[in-house]
Symmetry: C2
Subunit: 151 residues, 2 copies
């Protein structure tokens, strides 16, 4: 239920729905590299990788000291905020998405900085492993005979 | 609940659990190309792609006219059957997995025939899209505002 989600997760829900209408799939709280965790990693039909960071308030944005570290892990970088967010805080050279619990809209397309091929390959592999492993845990919640999921 | 699954799906469940202990993730009923649908596609940590066809009975095996078409969509090809299955029916040059509802074991490793790099890339991309899209539908079962999932 949407009521059980934290404010940032509600934005992520709207973002994920909108990405689906663009033909993208998404994984939330994706870890591109040790110590980094992005709110939404979106994968497009041609292997495009977009990062969307969801900010529910001024404080949420101002306490984030890591976002510049995400830029090198995607082709395009977006902020997702709600209508009440003070947009002037956000850097002009990132993408901007306005979202709510139910949907979202890309208001400013992010500039593209293409990932190196080897990094894209590694990220798509990790995206596939994470998505399938989460799907498996949802479909078959019991641990395997060995008591581990391997991933 | 396992009781609600068809016999082939029960084998697939045991196979998926065992693959997880090997560090592989799985997607069931994966479509590598139009007109083909494999019971289990397993993806390994180095991008290995294994196909596992689950056969619950002699009739199930003998009515399958498509399996040779799957060989070119994986690095290794396995049959998964239960203990009661007449194994002598199965071709010697495929892998063999004995499975039940809860786990599985690789009894004969399949020979490796490596996928061409371009096909592997395409299959991993599709695997990622399918897994994430199914995960999304489970986590957020309502259709998006546009009434479509895009995938």
């Amino acid at each position: 239920m949407v009521q059980d989600l934290a404010p940032g997760q509600r934005l992520a829900r709207g973002v994920a729905r909108h990405m689906a209408t663009l033909g993208f799939v998404t994984v939330e709280e994706f870890v591109p590299a040790r110590g980094l965790r992005v709110d939404v990693m979106a994968l497009g039909p041609k292997g495009e990788l977009w990062v969307v960071e969801c900010k529910s308030s001024r404080a949420d944005f101002q306490s984030d000291s890591k976002w510049q570290g995400y830029l090198e892990w995607c082709d395009r970088y977006f902020w997702a905020v709600d209508l009440a967010f003070p947009n002037e805080l956000l850097p002009d050279d990132s993408g901007l998405i306005i979202a709510d619990d139910y949907d979202a809209e890309i208001v400013r397309m992010a500039p593209e900085q293409k990932l190196p091929a080897a990094r894209r390959k590694k990220l798509i592999q990790k995206f596939a492993m994470d998505a399938a492993s989460r799907l498996h845990r949802l479909r078959d919640p019991q641990p395997g005979a060995a008591g581990t999921w391997g991933v």
